[in-house]
Symmetry: C3
Subunit: 165 residues, 3 copies
């Protein structure tokens, strides 16, 4: 039994939710790990991002998202609209704005309330069984890292932690 | 430390979301595994399905769902309405329709956009601690495999992966 | 490779969703476990509660919730309104009410349908990679145990299960 860890680096576009297909990279990490039976946790350390599994939708919208990704963005736009200005949500408040400034984030960069909320509801990770050396994704499953933060392009890390034998 | 894997087979009804209670079967797999301390991942390899834990609601609606299952279906009907025809959502698009046909799926069978979206939000799995040989489900917890795909009856597999000692 | 388990006890307020910050307690359990590389599952055995990761929002609303917690409560109030009386949702039905009474729960205490539904959508746990002895929470990540049950104050247990080496 062993643990193997790796990190995938991606950069979001800003301006809209960004979906990164990380299926092949995670498959590669699983193969190199040599683990035949276990669990692969694909995890976001960022509180405005999420990890999800879905099929490839092939057709692409003008936004660059696949139709299914755009449909998901549209659902969230309806229930948790994109934060366009302060006061739309309670967050960001005055103390958060001071704290963010101390950490190098300007006021527009704190208008990602929707991203925090969407990420909370989506969940921070997926735990995928590894069976006979392969992830149990079925014929059509892809792993997506989603950055819901629309405020600007950001460098992100996807953590992959494998445990098994 | 060891890993133990098993599969539970279920068949959905079509026509509405299907909830399969798999609690007893998963308990059986945990008991047979001999694992006393660890984690049990109950996972859906299907991208229109989800795994959830909830209490039994006992009363049943005319649809066959328990009241709580029906309430969950009603919430999703409000925020992600059942896909009844092409164009209601962006997915399925023309390329997806061709791809699906090549994989034996006709046009009505691709009208499961709502199921993909609901499944993404629910999450693909639950990771349940195993303590003293029993899953930590509390007094009232049941494990449900949910198939949100309403387009037709489908055979499904629930993957159970146990890791522990 | 080993497993380590611990429990954190919290008490909700009733009257609104309660958010318990358990970050420091979980960090403590991870440190004491001695596990350097593995996975930490933070899990709710209660079917009206959830575990989530988010940043600290600092500013507090009159309710006692941080702005971001209040925003999340507001989103759920919109899509899954607080259950105020029987008949608002299908659950609780007559059989559930009899069952609940046998388990010491009075009628007002069964009006937590919204909490079951919110909990199902949020998910019951978070699986957090442990790397070099620390949880992969990033600079701003906090772990929250959320009790959505508004009907009364309740004693709750947060299960922490660590697996690794």
């Amino acid at each position: 039994m062993k643990t193997v860890r790796d990190t995938i680096k991606v950069t979001s576009t800003g301006g809209r939710p960004t979906f990164h297909t990380v299926t092949d990279q995670v498959k590669d990490i699983v193969r190199k790990s040599g683990v035949k039976s276990g669990i692969c946790v694909v995890f976001s350390r960022h509180t405005t991002c999420a990890v999800m599994i879905d099929e490839d939708s092939f057709d692409k919208a003008y936004t660059g998202l696949t139709y299914l990704q755009q449909d998901l963005a549209d659902v969230f736009e309806k229930i948790i609209p994109t934060c366009r200005k302060e006061g739309q949500y309670m967050h960001p408040g005055p103390e958060l704005t001071v704290y963010a400034a101390k950490h190098g984030e300007d006021k527009p960069g704190t208008l990602n309330t929707d991203a925090h909320l969407r990420s909370s509801i989506m969940g921070r990770s997926e735990s995928i069984p590894i069976i006979d050396g392969n992830m149990e994704l079925g014929e059509f499953g892809h792993i997506y890292f989603v950055d819901f933060d629309h405020t600007r392009a950001r460098d992100r890390q996807v953590t992959v932690q494998i445990i098994g034998e």
